[in-house]
Symmetry: C2
Subunit: 341 residues, 2 copies
């Protein structure tokens, strides 16, 4: 297991050529005769040689690796994003170095530095919580972007080497809220998970829709839940508490489908008929929306398309092309059983 790892020298010796030639066939660059190439290839096969990526990286100063940062890979949504990125990057000959940072700024910074020292060729920040409302907190992103291109999923930030892709969350929620109001519901709660930057965008969408409909929104209509994204019961109990405290509501707009699902659980427990007495709209159009019964009307934020866009942009940037800084898609309301029409 230790006994002298086989290097390019061993191959060169075995094949009776110089290491330069071996390197050439390895990278199948020009000017190697077929017979030499065959000799080298045989030697490689015989020894089971694998080139040392460090050495290669040292020479090339790139390892064809993209760093993917996400707060929590077990989050349903982020997990999917990672999947898309990983797949598309691999198709382009890049590997993915994954860092789950958690939600603390300090840890995000540390992860970014780590990726930079590992000489990633680019960085994807997967999730809107990487950019902060307080501009100063985003310095770590700007610093990173001085070294490598930075791709932002679901967030916007202006910078010379920063690219982003997102859907128009404000508009999506605005529309969803408006439609819920139009279907006759006035007492609506916006249920946020509080850790997402786009969450505040969404919240504004909600508020604006209410205001434009002439409805007042009080602070308590803005419920939020800041715990694990998995504990449905805990989420539901948040709503129960609010109801017990006197808040009355017959509709919930949720920042993600887990929250929406908890709202469904809440409503059923209360004995409301859905959607006749109570409507729910979720976000992300994830698997959870259809796991629920009744199945949840949800906003599709086009994750796959966003990831795709971000990857092709990144590839473009890396090959020196000029690329658009920002792509904004429109979300789409997918109607299911928790809304009337």
């Amino acid at each position: 297991m230790k006994e002298h790892t086989v290097t390019i020298y061993d191959i060169s010796e075995k094949a009776g050529v110089s290491i330069a030639t071996v390197s050439r066939v390895l990278n199948n660059s020009s000017n190697v005769s077929d017979v030499t190439k065959a000799k080298v290839l045989n030697a490689i096969k015989a020894t089971g040689y694998t080139p040392n990526a460090f050495a290669r990286g040292l020479g090339l100063n790139t390892m064809k690796t993209i760093g993917i940062l996400c707060a929590d890979s077990s989050d349903l949504y982020l997990a999917k994003a990672i999947y898309f990125f990983e797949e598309q990057l691999r198709e382009n000959g890049y590997d993915s170095l994954l860092c789950c940072t958690g939600y603390a700024l300090k840890d995000k910074k540390a992860a970014v530095n780590l990726l930079i020292s590992k000489k990633v060729d680019g960085m994807i920040l997967a999730g809107s919580h990487f950019v902060y409302p307080d501009a100063g907190d985003n310095n770590y992103i700007f610093e990173a972007s001085e070294k490598v291109p930075v791709m932002l999923l679901n967030a916007e930030l202006e910078g010379s080497n920063i690219y982003c892709a997102c859907t128009d969350d404000h508009k999506s929620i605005y529309k969803a809220t408006s439609e819920m109001i139009a279907s006759g519901i006035k007492d609506i709660v916006y249920f946020n998970n509080a850790r997402s930057y786009s969450g505040s965008l969404k919240e504004r969408g909600f508020k604006d829709a209410m205001k434009d409909a002439g409805l007042e929104v009080t602070e308590r209509q803005l419920q939020f839940y800041d715990g694990s994204g998995e504990d449905i019961h805990e989420m539901a109990s948040r709503l129960e508490k609010a109801a017990a405290a006197g808040l009355s509501f017959r509709g919930v707009i949720a920042a993600d489908d887990a929250l929406a699902l908890s709202a469904v659980k809440y409503a059923k427990k209360k004995g409301y008929r859905i959607p006749e007495d109570f409507e729910v709209i979720g976000y992300n159009d994830s698997m959870l929306a259809v796991c629920s019964d009744p199945e949840i009307t949800s906003i599709d934020n086009k994750l796959e398309e966003l990831c795709q866009k971000l990857t092709t942009t990144l590839m473009g940037v890396l090959s020196g092309e000029e690329m658009p800084k920002k792509t904004i898609l429109s979300g789409e309301l997918v109607r299911r059983q928790t809304t009337r029409n």
Copy 2:
């Protein structure tokens, strides 16, 4: 953005010491006076220097990186596994190189080679589908284990540098099936997702339990679904088809919670009361189990503990300790609303 990346030489110059000394403070190894250390640290801070991991890796022949292989990071279960691994590895000073391989053998092999050439210090194969029932197909694992320790999650394989952690799937399903039978249900379907090796273990557990109860199991009671792990409706329609073809059943033992959830949907659609007329038991005790209504009785296979075990074993192996080859935990049936007692 290109202008001469700062190296250890720049620091040494700026601090007025040799590169050896800089290296020493970088690795805070012994014998550097406080005053020199301070000078170096200042120079580092001033320049924003980050050591080049390639060069370091070349010298050390390790980059403190563990390769994590998984078929599909968007799979709820695997995503959680990745999360646990990533977290625990980071705590031990290791980074994670993630490869989503898909389910094809060829791609798994490619991914393994890639990780080896990237000089990972160890490899985690997260998911039972990495080991095949046909022994020859597992050669790629043996080959990998000649270079680095290989950790297997949810699968067993004997080899000199191979370590595994899993729960006793056979026993868990055997018990679950037996209890369902005891509660009076005889017509049970085992619903498998066909791509998992542990799936066949579970299937055996089911068969054995049936046999030991004196019940015959026909081929059609072994339903399976081989599509995306997300499409609940598609899964349910598999059951509907079976029913339409004349199969009558009042219980489902499922290989994962998504399948179980689809069984719940099926039963509700059929008008069966759960659990009075129809019972369902899922696997993994995931979020989906509680998303369902009624909530699903499911087998907890102790994922976090398994991941933990695997990581600490790996750390042990890497530091040269002798470690147990195999750890087998017991699953636990978590009772909810889809089973009577």
